[in-house]
């Protein structure tokens, strides 16, 4: 087991005052709160900070921790509590208020014992502990699921993993990983919700199980972007295709199609492919934005043709909007 340096987790010195510890905790709790932070591992860091504060804010626990820190930590970073170690501060009684002790580390468990079995604070049972005859609905789980655009538009089957809090036969609430295979219907858009009835946390004392709610997110696509129900595509075309008009091949989410580029098209011109966006009662379209692309190099013959073109089109000023 690794030794946890709670002082380092809060970024305070061993001699920090309770006031300094509280201040450091509040700042880091705001920084790493999973609902606020976009940092990677924010959730783990938030738990770490919460666990560190749980110990260091309490003079008794802090004194025990300091003692262990002195004698229990080994040079290689691992940790073994001294033989016969027993916590005097007795965490098991549910004497915490803010932190969710079910989330604490093995290290915490080893030192202060029973923390994760101490009651139901996170689920709103207060300090009352488990009551066999209590009937209560299981917690709902709200999760997010990222889909590729193709999956969202065409529908797909997805494996979804999430954690539910579940009581075992001794009434201890433990997190349990659950994995389900779900069929996502075609046409799901960003921010839409789906529900799987009864797939949240199980109820207590014969209470109904909670539901699993999934909010759909869209992963960025290398070619398409999404605007409401429409799918946008920037389609490069050659200067001669723009000038003369052409039939070109364009990708859509459901396969390639031929698109007629009108004669005399310019960059930024929009073409609409009806019904090639998100399906539904009011299906969206695919909007193609044309973009005139140039070859990186021209051969001498082509350059000559451009010279002729420059002469023929000498009245065209592409910078007229800039008044130059």
């Amino acid at each position: 087991m690794d030794f946890k340096d709670y002082y380092a987790a809060l970024g305070v010195s061993e001699s920090a005052t309770p006031e300094e510890i509280k201040k450091a905790y509040r700042k880091l709790a705001r920084k790493y709160h999973p609902d606020v932070s976009k940092e990677e591992n924010a959730s783990d860091k938030f738990k770490e900070v919460g666990e560190a504060y749980e110990v260091l804010k309490d003079p008794e626990k802090r004194a025990e921790y300091d003692q262990l820190r002195k004698y229990g930590a080994r040079d290689d970073g691992s940790f073994q509590p001294p033989p016969g170690w027993q916590s005097a501060s007795g965490f098991g009684g549910g004497g915490y208020t803010e932190a969710d002790a079910r989330q604490f580390s093995d290290f915490f468990e080893e030192i202060f014992g029973g923390g994760r079995h101490g009651g139901f604070s996170g689920t709103g049972f207060g300090g009352g502990g488990f009551r066999q005859n209590m009937r209560m609905r299981g917690e709902d789980v709200h999760a997010k699921l990222a889909l590729f655009l193709e999956e969202a538009i065409n529908g797909c089957e997805k494996q979804v993993s999430f954690t539910v809090q579940e009581a075992d036969q001794h009434g201890r609430v433990m997190p349990r990983q659950k994995t389900l295979k779900v069929k996502i219907p075609a046409g799901m858009r960003e921010g839409q919700h789906i529900r799987l009835k009864g797939q949240g946390a199980p109820g207590v004392g014969g209470g109904e199980a909670g539901d699993l709610f999934i909010e759909v997110e869209l992963a960025p696509h290398p070619h398409f972007t999404v605007e409401g129900r429409d799918v946008m595509l920037t389609l490069p075309i050659a200067p001669w295709e723009a000038a003369l008009g052409a039939t070109v091949t364009a990708p859509t989410v459901s396969g390639k199609v031929n698109v007629k580029v009108p004669k005399g098209s310019t960059s930024g011109r929009k073409l609409r492919l009806k019904g090639k966006g998100f399906p539904g009662k009011h299906p969206g379209d695919q909007i193609i934005v044309l973009q005139v692309a140039m070859p990186e190099q021209h051969n001498p013959e082509a350059e000559k043709l451009y010279e002729q073109l420059a002469e023929l089109e000498k009245n065209f000023n592409p910078r007229s909007k800039l008044h130059v």
């Binding site: 709790a29 609905r137 994995t179 839409q192 920037t234």
Partner: protein
């Protein structure tokens, strides 16, 4: 870890207009109606349609998920209701801007052919 080999069919909530009554929201959020009424007063969550009587309120699933978020923030950061309302509004704004920025950056990449 539990694995179900059967594929479960889902219910799309935003399409069928599923809503939740005040009582259901309280039950699911494990909180009192007074608390939800306060959250509505502060504009932290809102019923789908305004109604005189709180008992007639209907909430959508987005309100349910926002309620959970509000309760987590209140518990973990010890926020009062005006602070909670302000934080959630600012978080919404930040998230909307992050989404817009990601979308615009992507459009820009497509336009510049990167």
């Amino acid at each position: 870890m539990t694995k179900h080999n059967t594929t479960l069919t889902v219910e799309v909530l935003d399409n069928n207009g599923s809503t939740f009554t005040l009582r259901e929201v309280c039950e699911r959020g494990d909180c009192h109606a007074e608390f939800i009424i306060k959250l509505v007063d502060y504009g932290i969550i809102a019923p789908v349609e305004e109604a005189e009587e709180a008992l007639q309120w209907q909430f959508d699933v987005a309100a349910l998920s926002r309620l959970q978020k509000a309760m987590r923030l209140q518990r973990d950061l010890n926020l009062n209701l005006p602070g909670l309302a302000l934080s959630l509004d600012l978080l919404d704004e930040v998230n909307a801007m992050r989404r817009d920025m990601a979308r615009l950056e992507q459009r820009l990449r497509h336009l510049t052919g990167e």
